[in-house]
C-alpha cells in the first residue's frame, strides 16, 4: 500500500473535512496545546504523531466532540462545532467513526451485536439487512465470519482491534478516527491493517485520521504526517519530507528508531 503522496498535492480543489484554528487545551495550569492549526483534506490518510504527553489523544477527543477545547475553532465536514444544538451535534457525530485504542467494545454484547448497535439506534433498517450490513463491516475489517457471535473477552488483541474498526465503520462514516490502530499487532497484522485502511479509503471515500507510533505505518501507510510538538502541529507534510527536516524534535523522533530500509 505505498500510497505515494504527490497526487494529493494536485488536488487543490479538494474540500477540507477537518479545520482547526487557534486551538488551545489547558488542564489547570498545564497547557497541552496552544494556538494549534490543522487542516485535513477529504479522502486523505493522516497520521498524528508526537512523543508521549504531547496531547495526541486530547486532540483526537476534541475532534470527535468528546471533549471541548479550552478555546479555538474546530470545523468538521464544513460545520462549526462550537455552537451546535444537541440534534446537530448528534447528526454530526454519526458522520464520524471512532476506534478506541483498547477497542472499547461493549463487553456484554457479541461482536455482531456491537456492530449492530449503532444501526439499531440510528437507522430503520429491517433486521436481516442490518445484520448483513454488520457482517459486511465485520468481513471488511478482516474478521472471519465465525467471530460474529463471540464476546469481546473471547477475542485476541488483533481481533478486538478489527471488531472495533467494524463498529466504527457501521454507519459508513465520512471521517474515521483511529487511536493507535496497529499498536499491539504483530508486524504482518499491522501492515495488513494499514492496507485495509487504505483500501477502505479508496472504496468508501472516507478520510482517515489516526494516532500512531508505528514507523512503518507513518512511512508507507499514510499520505501526510502531522507532528505534534511545542504545543502545536510543528510540521505537517509527507513522512519522507519530515525525515529531511532539521527540527530537533523531528530529528530525534525519526532517527532514534532503527530503520529497515
Amino acid at each position: 500500500m505505498n500510497r505515494a503522496t504527490p497526487a494529493l498535492e494536485k488536488r487543490i480543489e479538494t474540500p477540507l473535512v477537518i479545520e482547526v484554528h487557534g486551538l488551545t487545551n489547558r488542564f489547570g495550569s498545564k497547557t497541552v496545546h496552544e494556538n494549534l492549526d490543522l487542516c485535513v483534506a477529504k479522502g486523505s490518510v493522516i497520521a498524528l504523531v508526537g512523543g508521549s504527553g504531547t496531547g495526541k489523544t486530547v486532540l483526537l477527543n476534541n475532534l470527535v466532540l468528546l471533549r471541548p477545547p479550552t478555546s479555538g475553532k474546530i470545523r468538521l465536514l464544513g460545520q462549526d462545532t462550537d455552537d451546535l444544538s444537541y440534534a446537530q451535534r448528534q447528526a454530526l457525530q454519526l458522520r464520524l467513526g471512532l476506534m478506541f485504542q483498547m477497542g472499547a467494545l461493549f463487553t456484554s454484547l457479541s461482536v455482531l451485536e456491537n456492530v449492530c448497535l449503532p444501526l439499531i439506534e440510528h437507522t430503520d433498517l429491517p433486521k436481516t439487512v442490518r445484520e448483513e450490513l454488520a457482517m459486511l463491516k465485520i468481513r471488511l475489517a478482516g474478521l472471519p465470519a465465525d467471530a460474529a457471535h463471540k464476546r469481546p473477552n473471547e477475542l485476541s488483541g488483533g481481533m478486538v482491534k478489527r471488531a472495533a474498526l467494524a463498529r466504527a465503520l457501521a454507519l459508513d462514516p465520512e471521517i474515521l478516527f483511529l487511536d493507535e490502530p496497529t499498536s499491539g499487532l504483530d508486524p504482518v497484522g499491522a501492515r495488513a491493517f494499514d492496507a485495509l485502511v487504505n483500501e477502505l479509503r479508496d472504496l468508501l471515500g472516507i478520510t482517515v485520521f489516526q494516532i500512531t507510533h508505528d514507523l512503518d505505518s507513518i512511512l508507507h501507510g499514510v499520505d501526510k504526517v502531522a507532528f505534534l510538538a511545542r504545543k502545536r502541529v510543528l510540521a505537517y507534510a509527507p513522512a519522507a519530507e519530515l525525515m529531511q527536516s532539521k527540527e530537533p524534535e523531528l530529528v530525534e523522533y525519526f532517527n532514534t528508531r532503527p530503520l529497515q530500509e
Binding site: 500510497r3 497526487a7 494529493l8 488536488r11 479538494t14 474540500p15 477529504k42 479522502g43 454519526l94 458522520r95 461493549f106 463487553t107 456484554s108 455482531l112 444501526l119 440510528h122 437507522t123 430503520d124 433498517l125 429491517p126 439487512v129 445484520e131 448483513e132 450490513l133 454488520a134 457482517m135 459486511l136 463491516k137 468481513r139 471488511l140 465470519a145 465465525d146 460474529a148 457471535h149 464476546r151 469481546p152 473477552n153 457501521a170 454507519l171 459508513d172 465520512e174 479508496d202 472504496l203 468508501l204 471515500g205
Partner: protein
C-alpha cells in the same frame, strides 16, 4: 486515489423508488444510505411484486443523491430478488463509485450471519445450573479456605497486616456510615417505643417500656439494622471495586507481581469491617436507646431516672448477646462482597450482577445468622 463524490451531495431525503411500468424503469431518488434506506428496504418486496415476470428493467439513478454500503446492499438484494423471477435489472446508469461499492459488497461474499450457537434444551440447562451450583459452592469453599490460610500467618505476625489500607477501609466503611446508621437506629428506637407504648399504656405498664426498648434494641435491632445498612453500603462497594479491578486486569497484574490479591484486597477489607461493624453497632444501640427513652419520657410521661434505672438493670447481658453477633455479620458481609467481586469475569454487566448479588446474599446471610444465634441463645437460656 480520486475523491469519491459519495458523501458530497447528501440531501437528507429518504431513499425512494418508483416503478414506471410503461417505460420499464425503476426510478431511484433520495439518499441510499444507512439512515435513509430503512423504510424502502421494508417496503421493497411489495414494490417489486408489481413488476411482471420475465421483462427487463432499467435502474435509473439520476436523482439518487448519495449511496453507501447499505444502499449498495439493498440494491443487490433487489437485483437478486428480480433475477429469481427472471427479471433482468440493468444497473448501467450508476456512477463509477456506486459500481465500486456494489462490487465491494459482492466481493465480500456471503453476508448471512453464522447461526448462533445452539441454546441449551431444558434438560441441559437443568444440568448446567446444577453443575453451576456445585462449582459455585466449591468456589466459595476455595475462596474461604484461601482467606483463612492467608489470615492465620498474618494473625501471628500482626505487624505484617496492611494497617494503612485497613485504616482507610475503616474510615470508608465505618466513619462515613455513622450519620446514616445513627439516624436510622434513632428513628427505629422512636418507632418501637411509640408503637409498643400504645398497647402498654392500656395496661398501665408503660414503666416496662425501657425493658422493651432495651431488649429489642440491644439484642436485635441495633446489630441487625447496622449490618443491613453496611451490607448495602459497604458490601456492594467491595464487590464493585474488586469486580472492576478484575475487568481492568488489575487483579491479574497483582498476581503477576507475586502479590496475592486475597492478601492485598480481601484480608484488609475483612479486618476493617470486623473492626468497624462492632463499633458502629455500639453507636447504633446508643442511638436506638436514646430514641426509645426519649419517647418513653416525653410521650408516656415516664420519669427519666426510673427509665435509666430499669435499663441498667437489664442491659449488660443483652448488650453482649447483641454484640457477639456483629463480628460474624461483618465477616459474612465482607467475605460475600469480596468473593462476588472476585467472581467477575471480564464484562461490565458482570460487575452489576455481582454487586446486586453481594447485597442480596449479604442481607440474606445476616438474617440467617441472626436466626441461628437466636436459636443458640434460647438453647443456652441467655
Amino acid at each position: 486515489m480520486h475523491p469519491k463524490p459519495s458523501t458530497a451531495a447528501q440531501t437528507d431525503a429518504p431513499a425512494e423508488l418508483q416503478w414506471q411500468a410503461e417505460a420499464g424503469v425503476l426510478r431511484a431518488s433520495g439518499d441510499w444510505d444507512a439512515r435513509g434506506i430503512g423504510d424502502l428496504a421494508e417496503a421493497l418486496p411489495k414494490l417489486l411484486a408489481k413488476i411482471a415476470d420475465g421483462q427487463s428493467v432499467r435502474f435509473e439513478s439520476v436523482q439518487l443523491a448519495h449511496m453507501d454500503t447499505a444502499g449498495a446492499l439493498v440494491l443487490l438484494h433487489m437485483q437478486e430478488r428480480l433475477l429469481n423471477r427472471n427479471i433482468q435489472l440493468d444497473l448501467s446508469g450508476l456512477q463509477a463509485y456506486q459500481h465500486e461499492l456494489i462490487a465491494l459488497v459482492q466481493r465480500t461474499g456471503d453476508l448471512t450471519p453464522p447461526a448462533e450457537p445452539p441454546k441449551l434444551n431444558p434438560l441441559e440447562s437443568i444440568g448446567k445450573s446444577t453443575l453451576d451450583v456445585i462449582a459455585n459452592a466449591y468456589d466459595t469453599l476455595v475462596f474461604m479456605g484461601e482467606v483463612i490460610t492467608r489470615t492465620i500467618p498474618l494473625l501471628l505476625q500482626p505487624w505484617r497486616l496492611r494497617w494503612g489500607v485497613i485504616i482507610n477501609e475503616i474510615q470508608a466503611a465505618g466513619t462515613r456510615s455513622v450519620p446514616i446508621v445513627a439516624l436510622l437506629t434513632f428513628l427505629i428506637g422512636v418507632v418501637i417505643a411509640y408503637q409498643s407504648g400504645i398497647t402498654m399504656q392500656q395496661y398501665g405498664a408503660t414503666v416496662f417500656l425501657p425493658d422493651m426498648i432495651g431488649i429489642v434494641t440491644l439484642r436485635e435491632m441495633g446489630p441487625l439494622i447496622t449490618a443491613i445498612v453496611v451490607a448495602g453500603r459497604t458490601g456492594s462497594s467491595y464487590a464493585a471495586a474488586i469486580g472492576t479491578m478484575k475487568v481492568t486486569q488489575e487483579v491479574d497484574a497483582l498476581r503477576s507481581l507475586a502479590i496475592s490479591p486475597v492478601e492485598m484486597l480481601v484480608i484488609p477489607r475483612v479486618f476493617a469491617l470486623v473492626i468497624a461493624l462492632p463499633l458502629l453497632t455500639v453507636m447504633a444501640m446508643a442511638m436506638g436507646l436514646y430514641g426509645g427513652i426519649l419517647i418513653a419520657t416525653e410521650m408516656y410521661g415516664l420519669d427519666m431516672h426510673v427509665a435509666l434505672n430499669r435499663l441498667s438493670a437489664l442491659a449488660n447481658s443483652n448488650f453482649w448477646v447483641g454484640m457477639i453477633k456483629t463480628p460474624v455479620f461483618a465477616l459474612a458481609i465482607a467475605m460475600i462482597g469480596c468473593h462476588e467481586g472476585m467472581k467477575v469475569r471480564g464484562s461490565a454487566a458482570d460487575v452489576g450482577r455481582s454487586t446486586t448479588a453481594s447485597v442480596v446474599q449479604a442481607i440474606f446471610w445476616v438474617i440467617v445468622i441472626d436466626a441461628a444465634f437466636a436459636v443458640l441463645f434460647s438453647k443456652l437460656g441467655l
